[in-house]
């Protein structure tokens, strides 16, 4: 068996009080997934960054960290998001992890369709797939985990298709 090298990707779907994450090493190797949240009063940014994210970086030591940048956000949300993004980038720097920002501008299908495709690709996630959202319902918190997995798969495909360094 020849010693192989990997590109380990940690993808995050950030929200003001939680983030969904997925860790991939190969297109078929899903290492970890889930949603980390902060329900306590006070500044959620500190808890999310210094407790929840640091744990993940410690555990998985990713090569690349992918964050979704939303195309349409309210000004106040945008401010919170930018603060969170800055914090994530600073935290990742401590672990020598490169940060990539993935835009969701080119989304052609709905979030549910993407999530269903991810669940088909990784049957282990099928049990966490929430039912399709009705127009009057808010988004299920588990959906961010699927968004993160979609990001990770896309980033991994980019990394694999890029030419090998000589």
């Amino acid at each position: 068996m020849r010693h192989k090298s990997f590109v380990r990707i940690l993808a995050l779907d950030l929200h003001p009080r939680r983030f969904g994450y997925a860790v991939l090493e190969a297109p078929d190797s899903l290492l970890d997934w889930g949603v980390r949240s902060c329900r306590k009063k006070g500044k959620p940014t500190d808890v999310l960054l210094h407790r929840r994210l640091r744990q993940l970086l410690d555990l998985w030591k990713p090569t690349v960290l992918v964050i979704r940048t939303a195309s349409r956000t309210l000004p106040r949300q945008k401010l919170l998001r930018e603060k969170l993004l800055e914090g994530v980038a600073a935290e990742a720097k401590n672990y020598r992890t490169s940060v990539r920002k993935a835009s969701d501008n080119v989304e052609t299908s709905t979030k549910y369709e993407s999530a269903r495709r991810v669940a088909e690709h990784f049957p282990v996630l099928a049990r966490s797939l929430p039912p399709q959202r009705k127009p009057w319902e808010s988004e299920d918190y588990r959906m961010s985990m699927f968004t993160a997995a979609t990001l990770a798969i896309a980033e991994l495909n980019i990394a694999r298709s890029s030419p090998e360094p000589s």
């Binding site: 010693h3 090298s5 590109v7 970890d32 997934w33 555990l59 694999r160 090998e164």
Partner: protein, 123 residues
């Protein structure tokens, strides 16, 4: 942009099984889930008995469960074999090499050919 394998993949296999830390620690006869958590975070290394129990529970070989550790042990063993080979070569008289030393030398050379070269390959 290449990285090595993680010391262990216990958490991954546990999550794929759908079992909780408490349930797995019950299966492999650990005191409590915190012990398993330490193994998953590579804060501690499990005993040989626990490693074999993990192999039974997850149905994966120990070398796959502890992939990074297995790689580093393999690299180290190969390095030591090369050192011993050099030492034997230096101690052997090229005119009349002893039979036992020759046998050892040939065995190590053969093993080094069998064991792959553990160099990091670019992704």
């Amino acid at each position: 942009m290449a990285t090595r394998r993680l010391p262990n993949y216990l958490r991954t296999y546990r999550k794929h099984s759908g079992l909780s830390q408490s349930e797995v620690s019950f299966l492999i006869r650990l005191k409590d889930k915190s012990e398993l958590s330490r193994y998953e975070r590579s804060a501690r290394q499990p005993s040989l008995r626990t490693a074999l129990a993990c192999q039974e529970v997850y149905g994966k070989p120990v070398s796959e469960l502890f992939a990074g550790l297995s790689d580093s042990v393999a690299r180290d063993s190969r390095y030591q074999m090369k050192r011993l080979q050099t030492r034997l070569q230096a101690n052997t008289d090229p005119q009349s090499p002893g039979r036992r030393i020759m046998q050892k030398f040939q065995w190590i050379s053969h093993r080094l050919l069998e064991v792959p070269n553990f160099k990091l390959v670019a992704a």
